[in-house]
Symmetry: C2
Subunit: 252 residues, 2 copies
């Protein structure tokens, strides 16, 4: 199996190293990842600048290709310019920090996997729901298991998997749940400050609003100690609202 | 009606000026837009840098607030830091270039409206499907009409409207269609070049694959000379695939 790996924390992050080491047990791994951290870039692509690619070494050995772009750029580059064979699987991660609820809209990690799915390849994003003391071991082991499943079963066109793990040792993980995307929003605000030169600037900050009560969401599965696996797609059409919108009688 | 306007072409673009002038007929307009062009930024937000806001003048008069961030940043800033009253409507555009099919995933214009909807405000994105000789008149007139409808009717939670117009004079527009997002992909590739110093770089380029045959999509409505109005939402869960995924029997 040919596997393309990317992330949004950058090619020198700990999570992508753990992922690449684990997935080598399932096939040939090619890493193409941003040369620096690109978190919260959403599904951005680089149109107005040329992209640079350099070889990256880790622990004294060739590890992969570092690109001057976003995760979506990296997946396009990997498939269309770097890999000799089309990959059978695209995996993005392991992200430091969960990607659940509406946060997946901002997620570079998810967008890497989305780009793989757009290009017709079974794809998944893997994130570890913590910012402190991450233990990537259980996530890497689960990613390997999922990679083998995906290699065998594939996914429907236009669908990818968004996988999140709580930061727990393997023995304390309660199991795996197929989940839906929580509709809980991030509650953000701005911290307004003045710089030493008297000019105003703003820092964005925030937290999650109270958790929804739907036990089958990604957010609640994680909080209960389960691995969450959410199938997502990118036909954003709200079909159920179309008949009502037709009744608006829109005209010029 | 309080109206917040943003875009991704930047506060000095022609399209946002046409939009702001038109919407002043429907309410109080506040413009908060990127200080430079931010196309194809997807739903990015700025977490690792502070945001700067300056006042922007056009035609010798105060026009709005220029921010050092993405369209999603601008909408957050507008609502949470700049406007005294919460807006009744968020409008993003008028974009130079259509935002249809899977391209909406990369679109800064759509992401501005998405952010408005995430914050619970009726929102729409407006794009003009051309890169040459844009005539923003018909788009601005239609945006005004839609803004009044949205002010009166609102939208269901988590839903926004993605509006595209063909670049035709008003008398040649054939009408308005409620559409779904086309599943046609952008077919992109890389132009590999060598710089004067001998280093390799890549330019991303591409075109649409052959158009789908479904007449009710945004892409085909535009090609047939209609204005397309697509209701979109951002619960990305592929609910129909969940039962099959349950049958995979995922475990640790």
């Amino acid at each position: 199996m040919e596997i393309l790996i990317t992330n949004d924390d950058g090619i020198y992050a700990e999570g992508i190293y753990a992922l690449a080491c684990a997935l080598k047990k399932a096939g040939n791994v090619t890493v193409v990842a941003p040369d620096t951290q690109r978190s919260a870039v959403g599904h951005a692509i680089t149109l107005s600048d040329p992209l640079r690619v350099t070889e990256a070494r880790r622990n004294g050995k060739f590890f992969g290709y570092a690109a001057s772009g976003t995760p979506a750029d990296c997946v396009k580059l990997g498939i269309k310019a770097i890999m000799k064979r089309r990959p059978d699987l695209v995996v993005s991660g392991i992200n430091l920090g969960g990607n659940q609820a509406y946060n997946i809209l901002y997620s570079g990690t998810v967008s890497g996997a989305t780009e793989g799915a757009l290009l017709g390849i079974p794809s998944m994003a893997v994130s570890l729901d913590t910012f402190v003391k991450p233990d990537y071991g259980p996530s890497a082991a689960f990613a390997l298991k999922m990679a083998r499943q995906l290699g065998r079963r594939g996914l429907p066109p236009g669908t990818l998997l968004n996988v999140n793990l709580p930061n727990l040792p393997a023995r304390r993980l309660k199991g795996v749940r197929v989940t839906s995307q929580s509709r809980t929003c991030f509650n953000d605000w701005f911290d307004k400050r003045t710089d030493p030169h008297g000019s105003t600037y703003y820092w964005m900050t925030g937290d999650f609003k109270p958790v929804d009560t739907n036990a089958s969401t990604d957010l609640n599965a994680l909080r209960a100690g389960y691995v969450s696996v959410t199938p997502i797609h990118f036909d954003l059409t709200n079909y159920s609202f179309m008949p009502e919108l037709e009744e608006w009688g829109l005209g010029l």
